[in-house]
Assembly symmetry: C2
Homo-oligomer: 491 residues x 2
Amino acid sequence: MLKDFVVSEIPDEEELKAKLKEERARLFNSQMKIKEAGLPVMVLFEGWNAAGKGAVIGKVIRNIDPRFFKVATLDQEPSDEDKRYPFLYRYIKEIPEAGKFRFFDTCWMEEIMDGVLQGKIDEETYVNRVKSINVIERQLCDNGYLVVKFFMNISKKEQKERLESLLSSKDTSWRVTDADIKQNKKYDDIREVYDRYLNDTNQSRAPWYIIDARDKKYAELQVLQYLNQGIDTALKNHSLNVPILQNTFPMEKLPKLSDITLSDKFLTDEEYKIQLKALQKELRELGKKVYRKKIPVIIAYEGWDAAGKGGNIKRVTAALDPRDYVVEPIASPEPHEKARHYLWRFWTRLPKTGHITIFDRTWYGRVMVERLEGFCSENDWQRAYNEINEFEKELSDWGAVIIKFWVQIDKDTQLSRFTDRQNTPEKQWKINDEDWRNREKWDQYEVAIDEMIAKTSTTFAPWHVLESVDKKYARIKALQIVIEEIKKALK
Amino acid sequence: MLKDFVVSEIPDEEELKAKLKEERARLFNSQMKIKEAGLPVMVLFEGWNAAGKGAVIGKVIRNIDPRFFKVATLDQEPSDEDKRYPFLYRYIKEIPEAGKFRFFDTCWMEEIMDGVLQGKIDEETYVNRVKSINVIERQLCDNGYLVVKFFMNISKKEQKERLESLLSSKDTSWRVTDADIKQNKKYDDIREVYDRYLNDTNQSRAPWYIIDARDKKYAELQVLQYLNQGIDTALKNHSLNVPILQNTFPMEKLPKLSDITLSDKFLTDEEYKIQLKALQKELRELGKKVYRKKIPVIIAYEGWDAAGKGGNIKRVTAALDPRDYVVEPIASPEPHEKARHYLWRFWTRLPKTGHITIFDRTWYGRVMVERLEGFCSENDWQRAYNEINEFEKELSDWGAVIIKFWVQIDKDTQLSRFTDRQNTPEKQWKINDEDWRNREKWDQYEVAIDEMIAKTSTTFAPWHVLESVDKKYARIKALQIVIEEIKKALK
């Protein structure tokens, strides 16, 4: 894309001025439409050093009310802390809320290009990174984001002149780094690397715009034109249904809930006590190894109300060093969470390497409660199975152990536990009207759960059913699975 | 994708049998649903030689009524005739109608892989081919097609054994070609080339399925499972709106129709006669060169009723050798055309290299009459601007000269010509009630035409307005533009 990039004629001063005025006004007027439509706008700036990324961002934001935008400056290398998360993490943290702009002063491209050019990213990693980026950009678009990507392009000669001009004065020479000079020397080779990336990530929904950045005003004009044009298109697309993708993930086949026998799954108190002690001891040791080997562990709990999730989680955490794990109870999303991609609040709660996060309820709310209560559209939850598989694949490729539990009881067991909670003063906080309302929808939930398990039991993140009519049995089984999965990862 | 492909365990005989039965029945039941929904299903089979593509296709089609499917066998090299069209042409010709299956016994992958492996396709061509394929597959999906892509995978060892087994008997040895043996020898290198292509074309809407083809029954099962799953997904997506893409093509800015002065655009009879003669002579010579240099030329006419398209076209064709050009009058699509991608009837009417096709009305009907008469959905025509730009880009990259004329008159001129036609017996066939009805919608048409010109005047295929209140003026201008554009291409 860069190699065959043809510079067009720069309009004369007067024409430039008139067009800039027009496009600036257009952006100014768009901001309220964006606000009203709840459109989140992500603008990615990449490009050559000294191409004027910062300057253009500075000019573009002048047309937007400061309440409606933020600039994310991510052009520095990832910190040691960043490196303990998936590489997408520090960018995803920054995605805008509905109705707002977020300008990225370099995004994932820069990091990957640096890695490739410094020989830190090999071919296989490069291919995987590109895949991850294409997936997340597509997911953002599918979830209503406008993603506009600019590459600020200048020629080798232009770059050289700019660097020399900066170096010629004391006031500006500090702005030129060794990396800048090196980039100019190796310009042609680097262009090949850039070109490949631009081609590899030039998606139909999030295409690249190569900006001829020779002239600052002209560069601003091009950016404004493409941005305004993108906004118009996105406003048209807003709240449109998005095609469901064909599943491409390898799946494990699990039985339907109604085919699971519960009655024979129990332990005596004695069996329980002995096994619990032994397993917790084993898990304690494994927990230390996980920490030392820097493996991230994600344990996800879903299950019927009163199935015994809380007690089950406690038996797992009891074996862990409190510094190494965190339990994340997931309730309905807060406004700032609801205003973003629905997986954002889980992305931002991921464990870092060597740590364990236990989710008490999870991202699967999308295909259960949100589906059944109409908190999202049918298209949203139908799309979610694949989006969730993609999310978990990203985590699995990162090296995470992912353990997903469905804590299963039957309807009668739930009733007796509800009644018990109702009648026992110290347990009454555990039961409310909503629980009873949910119970009325048991059959609809069962359909949704069966579909969820069938569509998200990938080989890299399968569901495990914990038969929990006997809570002791479920706890032992959970510990066994956690131990087994961690052992596999340690191998 | 092939390198890290993990073969899974083949189910035992009994399980295989049961599952095959289930999936076969599922496909059998799907065919009527596909028919009812009007879903066109395109199934692409690619893979290693001797992997059993033909055998699997043979088994799959047994579950479908012969009226509902066809097999396109395209595994031979393109003929000399094929080579005179864009490389996609011979495949696009074969796309299925709504409600029907079309199985491709190799498709565009095979042709490109052969080209790359034989050194006939260089890096740049490869990149462009991949782009074209990604565009057309995405367009097909956007236009309601299900595109399922299978790569039949066997190991080097398995391939060798199969070839040896075929060679060991007189009855089958003829089936093994030199190319097969060569492929087996260079298996590892070829796999790299395949892998790159599979990655490059693994689109979210049309993903690849790698089929473990060791065992024939198991291969059939996998194909049926993915196909059935794809059908379910596609039926859900059917008639869904599709997001409009951001424009990425460089555009030329043309004036609005209302800003075009017509009154000063005229020629005296004398001027006209002299110029016409000279220009037609020049075009005659150029036409010969176009033929010798094998340049394809596409001239597209659109314009108001009674604007003078017919007479204008005649002045162009008068200068051409009848063996070298064809005029394609475009009326409303026939049922078999309506049942396919709306650009199909234009793809199949393309000139071959060295020839000229003049379209009297064009694919732009989509964003004019079809838009205004509601013959397609709003989403369809809004998407069409980009689809048409992509179509024309493909033709331009192929080397075609594309000349698009908008023949412009004002409302009063139309009225006087309509009245004249009405009152002149030998012209009455040229006017009907529909013309009068269209005239009532002049203002709506003007909005649509302005939008069309603004959104499809790409630098590689811009519109040219022919001011035709004076038909003589318009004819001379048309000839001048045709000459100019052909000259550019001959340089």
